[in-house]
Symmetry: C2
Subunit: 411 residues, 2 copies
């Protein structure tokens, strides 16, 4: 992509009402545009990152048998009345369009209705269904950029089983899958016991990432043997981990994912039954599993940045390489253009700063803010040796490499 | 994908309230699930088709310089007040969440706001920005399945120019691009002059596909020299085409795309100005260009079907091949499973009917309804000759081919 044709421009200042690090950097660098509190448009750079996160999640969901669908945002009152959630609980934070239509804050009712339409027998189970879709929630404190949206992207997976044992086996599979997803996104998550809220009376598990601006507080073992949300924790920091005897710590964290054992709460309320091998009608056992791709993006920025800007992990960076020409003369232009074309042919995702009106210093400062993993600088001086300067975003060391070596380095 | 593990089941009857051909076939075959009038969930089969249509559109938009973003569904009242559309016109069909928030029926206001934030000079123009996103409109007659949704998928492209000449050049480019898109989707569209409605006082151009259940009526030349929506037509059927002197016809049609010369209506109202070469401040000249991917999917079904079911055009079919085993014995199972594995490795998208509880006749009837272009039948009789039977969905002739030849045939 050519920076001279960009829609966006890097801004020196963040909007005054944006206090969070993720919103400040992402807005200044032109990844997102604030429409209202907790409601952000994804600009070309931002959409590239969001899609990469969504694709990682999609890949990992398919690996554990997930089948993708896309349910609607409009939800009928009648389904929510069946579970009693139209009033109270999730219903309280549901936006309404009129008396009969709500905007989906979650999709248990919708999918349970589809399931009861198609599932009759134990032979139709298990089912693993997911979607990546836009959700809406009335949030009073939507002040943390992408960490808490009123309109936000969510992957929700639901599983349907004929036995508790089968459910538990899958539940563990999802935990492993979630760790892989967060690792690929550059995040280290802790599985944390928490309250089930409006979804279930049981405990649930949250995936928490420690960061000073997190909204949750967790008690955790530094060796990861123990982690509980303070809302349910029966111990305090400086007590000992039941397993390794290290002292427990307390920290702020962001919940990037959660998994809920729903049991038969929804299937009983909505009469989603199956006929078991012995001919008996039984309610389907359910689980649900959420990850917020937009929140994940915000969390990555909270974790991976320095004072100059964002430092994107490789797999979700908007581009792999930032190609910067620092002079405007025919030789530099010609060779930089050729490098740009060649690298694209070799499958490298390149953002090419081909602008002439900016100084080298300005270009480097903007590149640091945008945070692409590799920077390649084309200047007349190094071209005399058929070379360019290459630098990793998070390292200070520069290296001179041959032009023919760039693709190898970056991949 | 294994049909034995499908979420959905083919239904013999369509819901009674579905009168349109597209809704009947798509619902019975398990592509979509009706949530309420004009609001449909996309099930695994349906989402595959929708994504293919969206990807064709995305590819073609990128070919003409389009940069993708994703604007929000929530739209602030303040922006719509600037253009006077909060009340009346599009505002009338906008769903509201509360006094301050509407659900986007279109995005001129939103994007013009972003453009005025970033564009200052003629050097920042032109810009071609598109999104593929969910839109909402209050439709009183949402009774035609995917042809008219209250919640529906839309690709909207907007272009921004410093001169009328530059705009017209791009406008023509989009017309060519739209023809390519519809052709790839298996549709033959007529460019039809129509009224600008709430968007502009000028005439606009619609892409209309002739079909008996269309909501629009157009007067057109059988040689495609002339086409006007009856709402603006100054001639009648049986008059002569101004170009070729053939008699004009009248027909029902579905509008699958539209392009609007917006002029400076939005940029003047919202003060989206640029500084031209001569230092003068001028309003940006705009165009907008829509295609409904979900409506396109519905239209394809209206056009491509027979009494047995859907006949998907190759490029948007949910799968390229429907592999059907018609017996349940170890030899057939083993070889059919191997064919399924091998074809997937060769990059063929296969739906594999591996079910044992259905008869051959039932399987063929369901396959006809689902409408995948190629059907490959594995039976013991033909396996003796290392062969399978292959058949195109829209042809009656069966052919016996060697197992090793399948991939070549289908690709």
């Amino acid at each position: 992509m050519l920076q001279s044709q960009f829609l966006t421009k890097v801004k020196k200042e963040a909007p005054k009402d944006e206090k969070s690090i993720n919103a400040q950097f992402l807005t200044r660098a032109g990844f997102i545009y604030k429409e209202m509190a907790g409601v952000y448009t994804f600009l070309p750079l931002g959409l590239r990152v969001l899609r990469k996160i969504e694709n990682i999640i999609r890949e990992e969901m398919e690996k554990i048998g997930g089948k993708e669908i896309s349910m609607t945002i409009f939800q009928p009152k009648s389904l929510w009345q069946e579970t009693g959630r139209w009033q109270g609980g999730m219903g309280e934070i549901m936006y309404r369009c009129d008396e009969e239509i709500g905007l989906g804050p979650t999709h248990e009712e919708m999918l349970t209705d589809i399931i009861r339409h198609y599932v009759n027998s134990y032979r139709d189970l298990p089912q693993y269904i997911f979607q990546i879709q836009t959700k809406f929630r009335k949030e009073l404190r939507a002040k943390s950029g992408l960490l808490r949206g009123r309109e936000f992207s969510m992957k929700d997976l639901y599983s349907f089983h004929s036995s508790q044992q089968d459910f538990l086996k899958y539940y563990k599979k999802v935990i492993t899958s979630y760790f892989r997803i967060f690792k690929r996104c550059g995040l280290e998550a802790l599985v944390t016991q928490a309250s089930g809220g409006d979804f279930t009376k049981d405990f649930t598990h949250e995936f928490q990432v420690l960061t000073p601006d997190g909204e949750d507080t967790i008690i955790y073992c530094p060796k990861k043997h123990f982690s509980k949300n303070t809302e349910v924790a029966d111990v305090k920091k400086d007590q000992k981990c039941p397993l390794c005897q290290n002292f427990l710590k307390e920290g702020k964290a962001v919940e990037v994912g959660n998994i809920f054992p729903l049991g038969v709460k929804y299937s009983e309320a909505m009469k989603a039954y199956f006929t078991d091998k012995d001919g008996q009608k039984k309610p389907i056992i359910m689980g649900c599993y959420g990850i917020g791709p937009s929140r994940t993006m915000g969390t990555v920025v909270e974790i991976h940045h320095d004072e100059k800007g964002i430092i994107w992990p490789k797999e979700i960076a908007p581009f792999q390489m930032h190609l910067i020409k620092v002079e405007n003369n025919s030789k530099v232009n010609k060779i930089a253009n050729k490098i740009y074309q060649d690298l694209q042919k070799q499958g490298v995702e390149v953002l090419y700063d081909d602008r002439n009106e900016k100084t080298a210093g300005q270009k480097f400062a903007e590149a640091d803010l945008i945070g692409i993993p590799w920077r390649v600088v084309v200047s007349e001086k190094t071209l005399q040796r058929n070379s360019v300067e290459i630098k990793k975003r998070d390292k200070n060391s520069l290296k001179l490499i041959k032009i023919t070596q760039i693709a190898k380095y970056v991949k």
